[in-house]
Symmetry: C2
Subunit: 205 residues, 2 copies
């Protein structure tokens, strides 16, 4: 397969977004910044290529610098369930398998050409030891992730497919424009045919 040109960001820009992301919750000095960034491995992912496949060891947590990734679960009948979308400024991994060094349950694929920064489990552990402030940072990241997932559970239990679709459009308008309806349907837990019918009914009114 012929590789496309990889547009490398100048180093000065490469870490801008992630440092701003970290800076929302903790403050780092020069040394801490250079130690942290030294642990990050830049990677370009072409559209439709995989960051992680089911069954592989999930070595990295990835910060999205640009582009759009999707994590999904494939069940025994090969039906996809989209677990999350990650746009620029988001973190994504198969958390259970990353933390416990187990084979991945999730597949993570690029929806668009993407630029990510990877952090290995071992390096994250070093980071916790060397710069304990990162315990706080990831405490907040995990807390927010927990809250988001819990809200999604509440909505899955209490709302109809149509209401969930509307919520999705409101909450992630940008993602909604970039992904296929098939992918949105698999996030909502309905078939693409049914989502299509919902949309047709909606626009009639």
């Amino acid at each position: 397969m012929i590789r496309k040109q990889k547009p490398k960001l100048p180093a000065i820009l490469k870490y801008d977004l992630i440092l701003a992301n970290v800076g929302k919750h903790i403050t780092l000095d020069e040394k801490e910044i250079s130690f942290f960034t030294s642990l990050l491995k830049e990677k370009h992912i072409d559209k439709k290529d995989f960051v992680l496949k089911e069954g592989q060891l999930c070595q990295y947590i990835s910060f999205v610098n640009s582009g759009l990734l999707r994590a999904y679960y494939l069940d025994k009948e090969d039906k996809e369930s989209t677990i999350m979308f990650a746009v620029a400024d988001w973190w994504i991994t198969d958390m259970y398998c990353y933390i416990n060094r187990k084979p991945a349950m999730l597949t993570i694929q690029a929806v668009e050409d993407s630029q990510i920064l990877n952090l290995k489990k071992d390096d994250l552990e070093k980071l916790y030891v060397e710069v304990p402030k990162f315990e706080k940072f990831f405490r907040i990241i995990m807390q927010n992730a927990y809250i988001r997932e819990q809200l999604r559970i509440i909505q899955n239990l209490s709302l109809s497919a149509e209401e969930r679709y509307h919520q999705f459009l409101t909450k992630y308008p940008q993602v909604a424009k970039q992904v296929t309806q098939k992918q949105i349907a698999s996030y909502l837990g309905v078939t693409p045919e049914f989502l299509s019918a919902l949309r047709a009914n909606k626009s009639k009114r």
Copy 2:
């Protein structure tokens, strides 16, 4: 309403469980232990009484010493969706509202007479400052909570009601014995009538 006798645990026992819980992830010295425990407020909750009601400010995160609590969401049609059960050795709160000091979306009610230890948001923040190891502790607690919720989403999207019921029985056999089928149904996202029918089919085979 006539209050029942509250059986107070001797102090030496009162903190045993929570200190073992914390001790799974971090190690505390004497001073840290006494500072931490000084922030905890013991509370007895009679069966069916409320720890938190929708709309109230959620001031506490609660550690369950004994008994069983249930957190649920009430939608506009007054339908209950059970978000979690918390048995002894578990932490429970309306995390979004606790962290952001917003009115609670969830109601937390005692399924059985329960003994809990409450930690105020302000005191937790003091704890993070005085004993930074607690950042690590709650990082791990949040991480585990995130992983659990994500697994639940995967199962809600990919499994039938019957499969989810079976998973629930396997994962929480003790809880399954203590709560009503109505409550299990509302955790699974089905009506009690349908769960009853599932059980009838299952036992036929």
